[in-house]
Symmetry: C2
Subunit: 305 residues, 2 copies
Amino acid sequence: MHEDNITSWFAAQSNADASAFPIGIGDDMAQIRAGADGTLLVTTDMLLDGTHFDLSVCTLEEACYKAMAASLSDCAAMATIPVCAVVAVALPTDFGADELRRIHAGVVDAGQRFGCELIGGDITKWKENAESFAINVTMLSKPSGHHPPVRRSGAQVGDIICVTGPLGGSLHGKHLHFTPRVAEALVLTKAATIHAMMDITDGLVTDLNRICTQSGVGALLEAAQLPISEAAKKTDDPMTAVFYDGEDFELLFTLSPAEYKKIKDLDDVTVLPVGKITDSGKIQNRLTDGRIVDVPAGGYDHLGN
Amino acid sequence: MHEDNITSWFAAQSNADASAFPIGIGDDMAQIRAGADGTLLVTTDMLLDGTHFDLSVCTLEEACYKAMAASLSDCAAMATIPVCAVVAVALPTDFGADELRRIHAGVVDAGQRFGCELIGGDITKWKENAESFAINVTMLSKPSGHHPPVRRSGAQVGDIICVTGPLGGSLHGKHLHFTPRVAEALVLTKAATIHAMMDITDGLVTDLNRICTQSGVGALLEAAQLPISEAAKKTDDPMTAVFYDGEDFELLFTLSPAEYKKIKDLDDVTVLPVGKITDSGKIQNRLTDGRIVDVPAGGYDHLGN
């Protein structure tokens, strides 16, 4: 199959929201139209077999669902509305039309849940020297209109730190099937002013440390409040799993105590307070016996060093 | 180095046009602002070691220049103005900070020539199972304002077919160092109405066949007018090189004879007429002895089938 056929086929099979975003099919670029003020947000992420998923134990559909869902989670992280995506794949030499259909199915499965149109792509193939599947998703989103895109840098001393679900142990299965918190982020930012937010991809402590560093603040976690996932409970050290396991894809956000009251009992969103923003400049944890201990940042290093 | 550091460093080192496009650094998405009418065009392309370049005989800088230049060539193909790019890379396990600097240098070298800002990216690493470098460029561009983005589907019977430079033999060196025809495309579309255009990536005949198929027309090439590159002249069969060699990255476009007169003597752009659009529904070639022969479409198959 030629690239043009695949690209057209990708585009032709994408969902029916094209009227909102005039799209040229089969040209060198896909065309979109930004929102009222022209602001768009863009994220790009490459996921690799053996690093982000393992095709010897998961399906192509799951891997490609995850790739798309991870980008949707980036939209959630800033409380923006997903608009469209372009997807590029690098195929092992033995992949053919059947594998392409499965790739497409995984991508569209995730995208359609959030009205995120697949508007174009690129298919390329390794030579014999490499046999590993790679998928790159670039996603565009737009501001919600009711809240500016939420940055990581806005946390303030006294803020309550919240997450949207239990943490830890995602690699035991959740990381392939998680629901990106797109809807939750929009509900939260409609109900309250959020100071800082991101999605937890590299572990609670590592990602909280990013918010703290970029905001010039510290944080005090409350051990008694930390939500331990069922998967984490099955590990030897659940608290370490909660702190450092990656790919939870839950939202991590901070807001003032007054704003917190507006969201703590929402029907549609799980809001779990886990601590407070402090002026300590570091991440600390209050143990159940009352002692306060420092928590090393640690976490996932993308260069593996 | 953590992803945040790399991303910030990528962004921090990109060129100084940030004021035109408010950009959030270190967040989950980069922010841009579209042009007056909100229209943006997007292209994504994955380039692989061993397929699109060979790091055993070229430098990382050259490979990454090529990746960025290929996307800039997509902007040229539609006569749009490059705005910004996000770049994701998959690194072999032994790559470190030095390789990242060289990747960045190649990307920025190409981008800066056309005011195309690097606004974000993603760095990821293979596990031991794979050792091949991959780079994905997603580029956004905007309409020029003086001519709508040029599609492939607008060729009309009687149009003159032109290219912007000699063809064939690109893989002997040009493919790593070509100049994307961004400026030329803007000059051409300012001077005349272009009916159909693309950049030649898979060979003159294959790409001309795309224009013809999408436009519902045919084409008659004139063998005597075909511009043979110096590299093609050194091959055993220069005409086959002109017809089928990929990665020339010259523009291929069609326009009416009246419009052609407006651009045939431009100072800044090489305009080489190579034939005419016909109603034959196929690609033909008029040999120097006057005989007309059919030309098989052929060309590069991205799935290698």
